[in-house]
Structures are given as structure tokens and as C-alpha cells.
């Protein structure tokens, strides 16, 4: 029996995906495979924090993980892989940039979060609906343009008017978004990169639990 963790950490896509298929074919426990992948992603997160790994490495790892999950999922047959904390994520109205948001989603998913991706140019009302329908207590608002700062603020205001503000933790992020923008928007937190955002999301998940 192999171990997926080092292959994922070393970004060896071919051998990694081959081993996933091989072990599924021989009846290995799919939850074990997922756990090995999550261990790998945790190590990659640490390597990112120490600047040994970079965004492109994260993107490659997340892509390997999600491809593996597509193979693994049909084998789960209702097995409990641990219900992740739900988080609603989207790029705010007026902004169609999705790269930063997608990096965040990939890393959140690899860390066990259940991401509800609303896409780009998302009106505030759609955030309201998604939170109400999913019961998510975490929200991630993405923006790349300086002209979107108002949209971030407006989205937070609409969540407030809908009575959701005290029930959710709101994170904001994207190119020019910093602490100054977080304060302007009235959000709860911001992070410089996707790994920082995951750390923050984990912290918020504990707080809303």
C-alpha cells in the first residue's frame, strides 16, 4: 500500500493520480485516501507559510486534490468524511474577477470546508438567499477593483438589513483589499492570501460554532 501524502506534497501529479486509481481498484478505504490528501494539503499550507511553496504550487496541489476527489467520490457510498463548515463565497456585484476567489475556494475545499460558490458579479440579495438557504455562518466577499469597495460595503449593509449580520462572520479579500477596506466595508476580517484566509475561516468557524 502506498501513501498519497508525499506524492501530493511533491506535486507529482502522474504518480499521485495513478496511485489513487490503483488503490480504489484494489478496494482501499476511500476515506483513508481523503485523509492522506488532507494531510498533504496541511503540509503544503505550512510550506506556503514558510515561503517554500507559492501560489502556483497551491494551485497545482488543489487541482490534483480535486481531480483525485472526482475519482474517490463514487466510492464513498455514503461514508462519512466529516461535514465541513459551510462558507458562502462570491465576487461582489460589478466585479467579474474570479481568480482570487477560485484560489480561495480551492484551498478552502482542500481544508474540508463546504464552499457555496456564487460566482462573480453577485448581487447582495443572492448572498442573503444563499446564507438563508444553506445556513452558512461564514461569508467570503471578493473584489479586485477599487471601484468595488462600495459594493463590498453595500453587500455587508444588505446582509445587515436582512437581519443576518449578527449571525455570520464576513471576510473580505482580493488584490487591493486590506485592513483599511475591511473597516470601510464593515467586515469581520481580511487576509493577505488564500492560506491566511483559511486560517481566518478556521478561527471564525470556531467562534460561530
Amino acid at each position: 500500500m502506498g501513501n498519497l501524502t508525499p506524492l501530493l506534497v511533491d506535486l507529482q501529479e502522474g504518480p499521485f493520480l495513478a496511485q489513487v486509481k490503483e488503490r480504489l481498484a484494489t478496494g482501499d478505504d476511500p476515506t483513508q485516501l481523503i485523509n492522506e490528501c488532507r494531510d498533504g494539503m496541511e503540509q503544503i499550507g505550512k510550506l506556503f507559510e514558510t515561503q517554500e511553496y507559492f501560489i502556483s504550487d497551491l494551485m497545482m496541489a488543489a487541482n490534483m486534490f480535486s481531480t483525485a476527489m472526482e475519482d474517490i467520490k463514487p466510492h464513498l457510498k455514503g461514508a462519512n468524511i466529516g461535514a465541513g463548515e459551510k462558507i458562502v463565497v462570491g465576487t461582489v456585484q460589478g466585479d467579474i474577477h474570479d481568480i482570487g476567489k477560485n484560489i480561495l475556494i480551492a484551498v478552502l475545499s482542500c481544508n474540508g470546508f463546504e464552499v457555496i460558490d456564487l460566482g462573480v458579479d453577485v448581487p447582495p440579495e443572492r448572498f442573503v438567499r444563499a446564507i438563508q438557504e444553506s445556513g452558512a455562518k461564514l461569508v467570503g466577499l471578493s473584489a479586485l477593483l477599487t471601484t468595488s469597495f462600495l459594493s463590498l460595503k453595500h453587500t455587508v449593509e444588505v446582509l445587515d438589513a436582512a437581519g443576518l449580520r449578527p449571525k455570520v462572520k464576513i471576510m473580505v479579500g482580493g488584490g487591493p483589499v486590506n485592513e483599511q477596506v475591511r473597516i470601510f466595508a464593515g467586515a469581520d476580517g481580511t487576509a493577505r492570501d488564500a492560506i491566511g484566509a483559511v486560517t481566518l475561516a478556521k478561527q471564525f468557524a470556531r467562534e460561530v460554532a
Partner: protein, 380 residues
């Protein structure tokens, strides 16, 4: 009077760009979309350029009184798509409100995996018709190259109009490395995966594209009346790529481009968005005194001063967010720090990071210029 002022400003800017100590720290601003918003022109009209757009930029410069401007006219969507960002665009007035920024649609690749082979065989210019077919959806394909020629023919006239007004233009043409072109055309995610999956294909295609990019840019630059190229970059930054990958996929081409421009008698301004702090030591490979580095508030410009002093002039870097949400007092304090530290012993041009945001507070833009007069006089 204007020409006298022009010469005085040009001397101030170029002294700093060549690592010298001018009479005062010069201010060069990039006011494009900001100018449109400030003067009440819809961006849906502004982006198509022409004299009305240039006049709006000139009126804005007249009001704010920098020493120079980064470019002399708006970057037309065709220049962006064929020279910097080969994707479809969402345009104000068509897909977006009349007063919005344009935005790049990077959801689907406009360069397919097999296109690497095409570029390796035929070069970048031969690939442009495919880019036009896949990206340009606002004019018929046969009109694209005549329009491009007309835009390029306009550049020297714009340069002269600015000169008559008393404002030097810092860059006469903008381009990017093959890496940046491919990363937009393939989509950033897909392109980064290509670096792991097909490294040699990427390298060979960048080699094949480079001579075409240089030939086109130099042709335009020669007639522009300005001696400096704006060489952009975002996705090669240490914020995204490891130094090892930067060495493998980025630096050799950036270095070749810089050297080729310098060999041809031009100078280079590296316009680098995002955090390039980790890449700074590599820039010592560029010819001393011929390159300036414009950062956008993400790269540590103070670290850049430590590493590149006496080799590369620095330009920057009031953060776009500070210009949008900050106060004039904050801008003033930050500019004072920039002038005292980065401007020490010359080689520094005070500027915004990237461009002045459309929604920047005008009083913050005034604060940049005022700070140069307050704190930037040398020998006082």
C-alpha cells in the same frame, strides 16, 4: 513658457531616472480612468481614445500639476488585447455601466494547448489573427490592423501635444513578456498548471514569441517621440511563483527584453503590479542606469532601495487603496517617508502605485504633488 517648463520638468525626471539627484523629487502620475471620471467623461467614450480623451487627460494634468505623465493617451482595448492581455473584455457602455472600468474575461482560454505548437512553429505575430478572432468582438476583424496602425500613428502627435502643454511623457509604448501574455490567454490557473505539465512547450513557445513582441514594440517606440518602454508584469511575481520557477520561466525572457531595448538605444520602465520583493535581487542583472522600477504598493519599495540603489531608479508607490479610502494627511505622511528614505541621494520618482484609481479622492492626488514640493527639494 510651456517649452521652458517642459525642459525643466524633463531634466528633473530624467536626472532621477538616471539615478542622479535633481533639484527636487519629480512626480510622474498615471491618470487615465481617473481623468475621465474627474472631468466628467464617460469611460465608455474615454476607452476608445482619440483627441477628446487625450484632452481630458491633459486638463487633469493641468489641474494637478505633476512633473510628467506616464502615458499620453488611454490604452485602447486593442492595444491591451493584442499587446498585454489577450482575453475577451467586458466594456463600459456595452457590458458594463457607462462609467465603469473595463474588465478582462479570463474564464475560458483564448490560447489552447495545441496553440503552443503553433506559436513554436510560426511565432506570436502569426497567432494574432486567432487572438483577434477569439477576443475582439467590437469591430470586424479586417478593421483591426488598420485601426492599430492609426492608434500607433497618433502616438507622436499626442507626445507633441503634451510637450506643447509642458508635460513630458515617461513611456512611449507598453508591452509585456511572453509569460504574461500566455498567462492571460491560457488563463492564470491553466497556465500555472502548464508550467508543471508541459514546461518545455512553454519555454519553446516563449522563445518563439519573443522576437515578434520586440519587433512590434520597437517599431512603435521608434516613432513615439519617447525613448522609454513600459514593460509590465504581474504574474511572474514572487507573490505567485517560487524563485526557482521565476528563474526557469521568467527572468531569462525579461532580461533578454530589457537588454534588447537597451541595445537598441531605449530605456525601460518595469511596471510591476503585485509583490515582487523576492525578485528584487534578480534586477541587478539589468544594465545599470537604464531601467526604472515602478511598483504598486505591494512590493517593498524600501527593500528595493536597499537592494537596487545605484543600479535602478525607483518610482512609486502610493497604494491605490490609500488614494481611494485614505486621507490627504495619510498620503502626505507616506509621501514624506518615501521621499526621505527612497528619495535619499536621488534616483527616485514619486508616483502612485499602478495607476491613480478612478475613484481616488482628488485631494489625495493633490497631496502627492504637494508632498514633493514640501519635502522633495534637494540640498535644502
Amino acid at each position: 513658457m510651456s517649452l521652458e517648463l517642459y525642459r525643466e520638468r524633463l531634466r528633473r525626471i530624467e536626472t532621477a531616472a538616471h539615478l542622479g539627484v535633481p533639484d527636487r523629487v519629480p512626480v510622474v502620475l498615471f491618470m487615465d480612468f481617473f481623468a475621465a471620471r474627474h472631468r466628467g467623461m464617460k469611460t465608455s467614450e474615454f476607452i476608445w481614445g482619440g483627441e477628446p480623451a487625450r484632452i481630458v487627460m491633459q486638463e487633469t494634468a493641468e489641474e494637478f500639476q505633476p512633473d510628467g505623465v506616464l502615458v499620453g493617451s488611454p490604452l485602447h482595448p486593442l492595444l491591451m488585447q493584442l499587446g498585454a492581455w489577450p482575453t475577451k473584455m467586458s466594456l463600459p457602455g456595452r457590458d458594463l455601466p457607462d462609467d465603469a472600468y473595463w474588465q478582462f474575461q479570463e474564464k475560458e482560454p483564448t490560447m489552447l494547448l495545441e496553440d503552443y505548437d503553433f506559436i513554436i512553429q510560426h511565432g506570436w505575430n502569426a497567432f494574432l489573427p486567432k487572438i483577434i478572432e477569439r477576443c475582439v468582438d467590437y469591430m470586424p476583424a479586417p478593421d483591426v490592423f488598420p485601426k492599430l496602425m492609426a492608434i500607433n500613428d497618433q502616438v507622436p502627435k499626442d507626445t507633441e501635444a503634451w510637450r506643447q502643454q509642458g508635460f513630458p511623457i515617461f513611456c512611449g509604448k507598453a508591452d509585456v513578456t511572453p509569460f504574461e501574455l500566455f498567462s492571460a490567454a491560457r488563463t492564470m490557473t491553466q497556465f500555472y498548471l502548464d508550467l508543471y505539465r508541459y514546461p518545455q512547450k512553454v519555454i519553446d513557445a516563449m522563445d518563439a514569441a519573443l522576437p515578434d513582441i520586440l519587433e512590434v514594440s520597437m517599431g512603435v517606440l521608434k516613432t513615439s517621440g519617447v525613448n522609454r518602454i513600459f514593460l509590465g508584469g504581474t504574474r511572474e511575481a514572487g507573490a505567485f511563483l517560487s524563485p526557482k520557477k521565476y528563474e526557469q520561466f521568467c527572468h531569462p525572457w525579461r532580461k533578454q527584453m530589457v537588454q534588447a531595448y537597451v541595445d537598441a538605444g531605449f530605456e525601460v520602465m518595469l511596471h510591476l503590479d503585485q509583490d515582487w520583493t523576492l525578485n528584487l535581487p534578480y534586477f541587478k542583472d539589468f544594465p545599470a542606469g537604464k531601467v526604472s522600477l515602478h511598483t504598486d504598493g505591494f512590493t517593498d519599495i524600501f527593500k528595493a532601495k536597499e537592494i537596487l540603489q545605484g543600479h535602478i531608479a525607483l518610482k512609486g508607490d502610493v497604494h491605490p487603496t490609500m488614494l481611494t479610502l485614505g486621507s490627504p494627511e495619510e498620503v502626505d505622511a507616506y509621501c514624506e517617508k518615501l521621499i526621505r528614505v527612497v528619495g535619499k541621494d536621488g534616483g527616485f520618482i514619486l508616483s502612485q502605485g499602478c495607476d491613480v484609481p478612478m475613484v481616488a479622492r482628488p485631494e489625495n492626488v493633490h497631496a502627492i504633488v504637494e508632498a514633493a514640493h514640501k519635502y522633495g527639494v534637494y540640498g535644502k
